[in-house]
């Protein structure tokens, strides 16, 4: 494990370590926003296979950043490194560093438990626990030892309201979460992910298992949530990326090809690969 993190000053973004195209982020993000995720020459290996080839990336806070790219391009792998979920898989290793708020997430003093409490995650397939709706949301608080009833009640209402689910479920908070519809389950998972007041929300294709109406609701929610959270969303759906995100990173074969304002990526990409992917010629 390497901790060669050096400084957190704003660098020009390196689009790819081979073909760097300096570009200023300041037109989208005011320079004062220092709460960002910085990926520094990050390489990732499953066993001997290198799946991420030296990614350099800086993600600003309180923005929605989408990761797009064809299957197997490494976008989900990178996402799952932000909260170190990949460590659950045996035989993985990484080089380079990821820093958040200037702290390396791989630093020995970082507790992975605390890290994951600060970084919520929503998965491709909704995964409500087989307990009540209420129980699902207070789960992250209960495991952290918070048992104050009124505080829990307050959190449940706040999170369900944030996830635009409160009105639909407020009368059946103590019924099983498995009775909800697919879209409701996914919004419940979002509510659960924000219950411990994380600052970053990772979403791994959150709408891929949902119908169009449920998808629209979740997308609305994402736009709503960016006021309070730094959101990174992996998606296969390019329209979704263009609808919800302000920044878009395009990955291909384990490389970051292009990272720019979403508007620019979708209208005037600077790389041929990006353009071909956006226009549906491959991927």
């Amino acid at each position: 494990m390497s901790n060669d993190y050096t400084s957190s000053e704003a660098h020009p973004i390196q689009v790819s370590h081979e073909t760097a195209r300096p570009y200023e982020l300041s037109d989208v993000v005011p320079p004062s926003e220092t709460n960002f995720i910085k990926v520094d020459d990050f390489r990732f290996f499953y066993g001997k296979k290198e799946v991420l080839h030296g990614i350099n990336l800086e993600i600003p806070s309180r923005r929605v950043t989408s990761f797009i790219g064809p299957s197997g391009c490494g976008k989900s792998t990178l996402l799952r490194n932000f909260n170190r979920m990949n460590e659950l898989i045996p035989g993985v290793r990484h080089e380079g560093d990821i820093t958040i708020h200037g702290t390396s997430i791989f630093d020995p003093s970082v507790e992975v438990i605390a890290l994951r409490r600060r970084i919520g995650m929503v998965f491709q397939k909704s995964n409500p626990f087989p307990m009540s709706i209420y129980g699902n949301i207070v789960y992250p608080l209960r495991i952290a030892g918070q048992g104050d009833r009124s505080m829990l009640d307050e959190t449940v209402e706040r999170c369900l309201r944030s996830a635009a689910l409160w009105d639909e479920v407020k009368d059946r908070l103590h019924e099983s979460a498995l009775g909800l519809s697919g879209g409701q389950m996914q919004r419940l998972c979002i509510a659960r992910a924000i219950a411990s007041r994380p600052e970053i929300l990772l979403m791994d294709e959150p709408c891929s298992a949902l119908d169009p109406i449920a998808t629209a609701k979740v997308e609305e929610l994402i736009i709503e949530l960016k006021r309070d959270f730094t959101i990174i969303i992996v998606t296969h759906n390019m329209h979704q990326a263009s609808r919800v995100s302000e920044l878009t990173a395009f990955f291909y074969l384990g490389n970051l090809v292009e990272f720019d304002e979403t508007r620019k990526i979708f209208t005037n990409p600077s790389k041929l690969q990006t353009e071909e992917y956006i226009t549906g010629r491959f991927g």
């Binding site: 708020h101 702290t103 507790e111 952290a144 030892g145 007041r197 600052e199």
Partner: protein
């Protein structure tokens, strides 16, 4: 938004400290491993005692001679081994055809029919019935009718014990045969009988054999069904219509005798029985394993 308050961004949240949570995590892991390993002790104790107490007497005599009279030494339990084999064979003769044919019917001829669901239900009920009930039934149906304890009665009891094992494993085995084989066979104009007899059964045979081996190992080890159906005998078996010795009943009878030699014989019989049961089990797994891959 929360502002980072402590040492750095990812230090412990408020509430219970992570230290406490980590400690509890370690403790529970340790506890789980300790409890799991704890169960090794009785097993090791059983294996060691059976080998240590059973091995000294193991010789050819053990398999060829009769047990000594109480208080005397020398001799073995050839008749009990013989009796166990005879009764296991009787039970197989009864249960194997019944089990396999029933399995063929419920899987090949009429997978969804009242008869098939009834058979499955019966088989599952039979697996849950205590083994001694098989003995009670054989006692009522065979011993009380014929007025004799006999190897036949013991065999009947064991047959009831193993019937569900054979039936259910055979059904599983038949289910494992690829549908495309059946389609191919019907496609060239074969009858259901030809398909089952030439294609399905041969393909399912290894798995069915596994079930039969498991049944043998179960039947050989069971005591309760033969305890008061075959009873016991000090002599060689000459007819299946007379009381017959078996290894398991011998262990039960000799364990409570006050004679050291008989107790040693019980341990030796245990060693033979455990070896037999374990070997059949392993053999059963080996028959089936090449097919699974």
């Amino acid at each position: 938004m929360m502002k980072p308050e402590s040492r750095h961004f990812f230090s412990s949240p408020k509430g219970k400290t992570s230290f406490y949570r980590m400690l509890r995590n370690r403790f529970l892991t340790g506890l789980c491993i300790a409890l799991s390993l704890l169960t090794l002790f009785p097993l090791i104790s059983i294996v060691i005692l059976v080998i240590r107490n059973g091995l000294p007497l193991i010789s050819m005599n053990l398999f060829t001679q009769l047990s000594p009279a109480p208080g005397l030494e020398g001799g073995g339990f050839g008749n009990a081994i013989m009796g166990t084999l005879v009764m296991v064979c009787i039970s197989l003769l009864l249960a194997v055809p019944l089990g396999i044919l029933s399995a063929v019917y419920i899987n090949e001829y009429a997978p969804v029919s009242p008869v098939s669901s009834a058979v499955r239900f019966v088989a599952k009920l039979l697996t849950g019935i205590p083994s001694i009930i098989c003995g009670v039934f054989a006692f009522a149906a065979v011993v009380m009718t014929s007025q004799h304890f006999s190897a036949i009665a013991g065999g009947v009891a064991l047959a009831i014990l193993i019937l569900p094992i054979i039936l259910l494993t055979s059904e599983q085995a038949l289910m494992g045969v690829s549908v495309s084989y059946r389609e191919a066979s019907y496609g060239v104009g074969a009858t259901p009988f030809q398909t089952i007899w030439r294609i399905v059964l041969p393909d399912a045979m290894p798995a069915i054999m596994t079930g039969i081996m498991l049944a043998v190992s179960r039947a050989a080890g069971e005591t309760a069904p033969v305890l008061f159906t075959a009873l016991f005998s000090q002599n060689w078996i000459t007819s299946v219509f007379e009381p017959t010795a078996s290894l398991s009943v011998l262990i039960y009878n000799f364990a409570s005798l006050p004679y050291a030699y008989h107790i040693k014989l019980a341990w030796s019989a245990s060693l033979v029985l455990v070896t037999l049961v374990t070997l059949t089990n392993i053999l059963a797994q080996m028959i089936f394993s090449p097919k699974q891959r």
